[in-house]
């Protein structure tokens, strides 16, 4: 919302507080993930909590966010630090170093763009200060 329209009531979107909470948790998780072993364990807790909230509140996480969280131990996947990235048989395989769970993405079709990243999927953008 622009500053000139400050007096009018701000349009609310559904589940705004949940989205803000998820956003904060994901950023906090990123901030302390690589400092030391203890802080890394705390960051696993935060991303775990973020996934739990999004399940409980039925707010789907964005695809870019979802792809950086391990499906097994729910820790943050940072290429080269907490996961191993290899290309085998035309697929890129992201293996978590903690629990050895793999995410497999095909690299054969570069034309494919997920629906969330296409421009038609965005209906409206709300801006908050």
């Amino acid at each position: 919302m622009e500053s000139t329209n400050n007096s009018t009531k701000i349009k609310k979107c559904a589940g705004k507080d949940n989205l803000q909470r998820l956003n904060y948790l994901y950023q906090a998780c990123n901030a302390i993930a690589t400092e030391n072993e203890t802080n890394h364990l705390a960051s696993v807790m935060y991303s775990n909590l973020a996934v739990a909230i999004s399940k409980k509140a039925v707010q789907r996480m964005d695809i870019e966010v979802k792809r950086t969280i391990c499906k097994g131990c729910r820790s943050l996947l940072l290429a080269g630090i907490t996961c191993k990235v290899r290309i085998k048989k035309k697929r890129s395989i992201w293996t978590c170093t903690k629990c050895h769970t793999a995410k497999v993405f095909p690299v054969q079709c570069p034309d494919y763009v997920p629906w969330n990243l296409q421009e038609e999927s965005v209906v409206e953008t709300l801006q908050y200060k």
Partner: protein, 221 residues
């Protein structure tokens, strides 16, 4: 480093017996000392080479990659040590970034117009509902009152919230676990001070954003 390979001083070498070539000497010695059954295959056995690091490599064997079954059971999570936070190696200063982010998040979440609404105003119920649903990880918290006298006055950054406890890191970089049930907490945001009864926020942190909160609760401690 050169000193490592110098030969023994002469005074010791004087008394030593002459042996000649060391490998042939050892073979002769073994032939003499070993029982007859072993000494027959001696020439064959001496060609064996023993890898000293063989035992190590078997321990380092790679774990298989999981592709089909992705979720972990509780026992697997426990074996990975991700159910509990460790008690050592905390650093209060390294959490400064989180504290700053929490202040920013809280200002945005509460939509403060400079001040909190008074309890007689219309916004009050809405405001307290938002406050009860917001995240507390990262806040600088103080135990104002508690049934346990040694907990009173503890300050620290919240690193984990569970159903029954807050886990905080104090300024001496120690992890303290404080039960919610019997404590009253205070935290400061800008120029405002909030007081929260621990008994009223006793839910799982993941369920708190969805659960209905009672509008009237009696404060008792």
């Amino acid at each position: 480093m050169a000193d490592l390979y110098t030969s023994l001083p002469d005074q010791y070498l004087k008394n030593a017996p002459e042996i000649g070539d060391p490998t042939t000497y050892i073979q002769k010695l073994l032939l003499k000392e070993l029982p007859r059954s072993d000494s027959q295959q001696l020439r064959h056995d001496l060609k064996w080479q023993f890898l000293l690091d063989k035992h190590q490599s078997s321990q380092k064997r790679k774990k298989p990659i999981r592709k089909k079954k992705t979720f972990l059971t509780r026992r697997e999570r426990k074996d990975l040590n991700i159910l509990k936070l460790p008690k050592s190696d905390w650093d209060y200063n390294s959490l400064e970034g989180i504290r700053k982010m929490w202040r920013q998040y809280m200002r945005q979440n509460l939509e403060l117009a400079g001040r909190a609404p008074h309890c007689s105003e219309q916004d009050w119920a809405n405001f307290s509902a938002v406050l009860a649903k917001s995240e507390l990880i990262g806040s600088e918290i103080k135990v104002a009152r508690s049934k346990c006298p040694s907990h009173v006055g503890l300050t620290g950054t919240v690193v984990l919230e569970t159903k029954m406890t807050f886990q905080i890191v104090t300024q001496q970089s120690q992890l303290k676990i404080i039960p919610k049930n019997t404590s009253v907490f205070e935290f400061v945001l800008d120029a405002m001070k909030f007081t929260v009864f621990g008994k009223h926020i006793m839910t799982k942190p993941s369920e708190r954003s969805v659960k209905k909160i009672k509008s009237v609760m009696l404060p008792d401690l």
